[in-house]
């Protein structure tokens, strides 16, 4: 369902929704960049073409969160499950690639055998309002991975900016219910213009890479040594990735925390015996590329990368995963 709505009216709707929802959206913080934050003053919403530094992942998998707490009750030890926050939220301005990232995380945290209630609760209580891209960054490569600047996968609503009037594509029933009395329908000419605009957005990204079906045959290649040489194992690629989800479980007194962790860190697989199967940078970087473009695909039929370009933009030593994958020396059969 398509609607046209003015920016002012959209802001008004969001303000009226504040009574029932927490609203989270992109804000431009001077000297820092664009960050998703809770918003009460809709004027502070950032509607530009820039991309947030951190993905919305942090609202679903927190960088660190408590999983349970232990305590003593009259000398008897008890463990308390933590109550889940049920508050509803709307995250607005989500880029299409990040929404796809969440659908990939669903495959891990909503797996048949073990469902992660913290993640699932965060998913269930959130409405995702996407913002389609018009000017992809030079590090963007979503179209090589099945995404698109105007993809609506995983979103409840997708906004197309155009001057002071926004066209909104309303995708899910939840969103239809909330927006049923808002905006107006499109005229035929407007629908035509929107279709053209959508096509233009889809074609706005020219950079394409070749993603191999499997990397099996080049596991032992010296290529991994070459491409990981400059890596300083800082892990920023994993923290800022919308699909990286590796974590550590940490004890803090009688509480258990889940914290972000990543394959880039040298102690990620260090065993108590001192053995470390991924001691060298090449082994760790290879693990990152294989997890995303080989292992995950074997398990879930998709790449664990959405081509958002964050790991490229923020890598302090300019490692470019798109190039690494594109130039992988595949053994042609």
């Amino acid at each position: 369902m398509l609607k046209i709505i003015t920016k002012e009216d959209l802001h008004k709707i969001l303000i009226s929704l504040l009574s029932g929802f927490e609203i989270i959206g992109p804000r431009e913080l001077s000297h820092k960049g664009i960050f998703y934050e809770p918003i009460t003053d809709m004027k502070s919403l950032y509607w530009g073409e820039g991309f947030a530094t951190e993905p919305v992942k942090k609202f679903f998998l927190s960088p660190s969160e408590y999983l349970f707490k232990g305590r003593y009750d009259n000398g008897k030890e008890v463990l308390d499950d933590l109550p889940l926050t049920r508050n509803k939220r709307i995250i607005i301005g989500v880029r299409p690639c990040e929404a796809i990232g969440l659908t990939l995380l669903d495959k891990v945290f909503n797996a048949d055998e073990y469902k992660d209630e913290f993640y699932l609760n965060n998913r269930e209580r959130t409405i995702l309002v996407g913002l389609s891209c018009l000017k992809p960054d030079k590090s963007c490569f979503c179209t090589s991975l099945g995404g698109s600047p105007e993809s609506n996968r995983g979103l409840d609503v997708l906004i197309f900016l155009g001057g002071n009037e926004f066209i909104i594509e309303i995708i899910t029933e939840t969103a239809k219910e909330i927006l049923k009395n808002s905006g107006r329908d499109l005229s035929q000419a407007e629908t035509k213009a929107w279709e053209l605009d959508r096509k233009r957005r889809k074609e706005s990204l020219n950079y394409r890479i070749e993603v191999p079906e499997s990397l099996d045959k080049i596991f032992e290649s010296e290529y991994w040594e070459d491409v990981s040489r400059s890596c300083i194992s800082c892990g920023v690629c994993t923290f800022l990735c919308p699909t990286c989800h590796c974590f550590d479980l940490v004890d803090e007194k009688r509480k258990k925390l889940r914290c972000y962790d990543g394959c880039a860190f040298c102690d990620f697989t260090l065993e108590a015996s001192g053995v470390n199967p991924r001691l060298a940078k090449k082994e760790r970087y290879r693990q990152r590329v294989f997890h995303k473009f080989d292992y995950f695909k074997k398990n879930f039929k998709e790449n664990l990368c959405v081509g958002c370009g964050r790991c490229i933009r923020f890598c302090p030593v300019k490692i470019n995963i798109a190039e690494v994958v594109d130039k992988a020396p595949l053994v042609k059969s």
Binding site: E77, V108, N121, R254, D261, A272, V275, R278, D294
Partner: protein
């Protein structure tokens, strides 16, 4: 809504046995009687063991599910722990009556149905006997389902042999042989001398209708597999268990993968034919 998959059950240490200078076996009983009664597992599965405030680490359940009820005051499980890292050191400091957390059981366990009506060759090194002990006793308790049982158990020295109190029962069981070996000769040692792969070469166990179950340090597994292949065991008939750093035990935290498989969820028990086709670092 699903349950908190990270929340352990509280268990109490009801017995601690010193197996070797650096290995202790802990007998545990769940505090919640309903959990104590419903907790079920297969030989080869493991639990995540928490020492609150110190950390959590995976340990295999070393007693057979057929022998849960033989424990004092109801069903319980046993874990043997070698003093090694942060959690295992903290565990070694604990006393009878102390409370720990247990999550699980996790992992696939041994493919028991595939072992029925086969000769079984157990090959253990050091604490690698722990998961095999669970299976050995399971097989002895269901003796008619399996053919001859041969156990080859090695350790660095005689002091490092675990579960010594059970050797007599194993030797005395029907159609069961136990071969003990230590790496170097010692005074008063009457069993075999030499590392496990060498002993296998000497013993030449039959590969006909046989399945080999290998568990030990990576170096032992590495040198044992070629010997078994040379003896005629096909890759499908060689079963081993793998270890890596683990945290969640649920196939989510991303550490313990070998190729696209997670040791915690898809293992820890693998056949050699599975491993042959995977790319991995170990």
């Amino acid at each position: 809504m699903s349950q908190n998959i990270y929340l352990p059950n509280l268990a109490q240490i009801i017995e601690i046995k010193d197996e070797t200078p650096d290995i202790k076996t802990f007998k545990l009983k769940f505090k919640d009687q309903a959990i104590a009664e419903s907790f079920d597992y297969k030989p080869g599965q493991f639990v995540e063991f928490s020492v609150f405030g110190e950390g959590e680490a995976p340990f295999c359940i070393s007693n057979s599910p057929t022998r849960k009820s033989s424990l004092v005051s109801g069903a319980g499980i046993e874990c043997s722990v070698k003093r090694m890292g942060k959690v295992s050191q903290a565990l070694h400091e604990l006393n009878i009556g102390d409370t720990v957390g247990i999550r699980g059981p996790y992992g696939n366990g041994f493919p028991i149905d595939d072992l029925k009506n086969k000769h079984l060759l157990f090959v253990a090194g050091g604490i690698g006997l722990a998961p095999l002990r669970s299976l050995i006793n399971y097989c002895l308790d269901n003796r008619d389902n399996f053919k001859d049982i041969t156990i080859v158990n090695g350790a660095r020295t005689s002091k490092d042999l675990v579960y010594q109190s059970e050797y007599e029962a194993w030797k005395g069981a029907k159609n069961t042989q136990l071969h003990l070996t230590v790496d170097c000769n010692e005074e008063n040692w009457t069993c075999m001398v030499g590392v496990v792969p060498k002993i296998l070469e000497q013993l030449k166990p039959t590969c006909q209708d046989s399945v080999a179950l290998v568990c030990g340090p990576p170096i032992m597994i590495k040198y044992t597999l070629p010997v078994l292949l040379k003896l005629g065991f096909c890759p499908e008939a060689i079963i081993t268990t793998l270890e890596m750093k683990m945290k969640c035990g649920l196939g989510k935290c991303g550490r313990c993968n070998i190729g696209n498989l997670y040791i915690c969820k898809d293992g820890p028990v693998f056949s050699y034919s599975q491993l042959e086709n995977l790319n991995y670092e170990l």
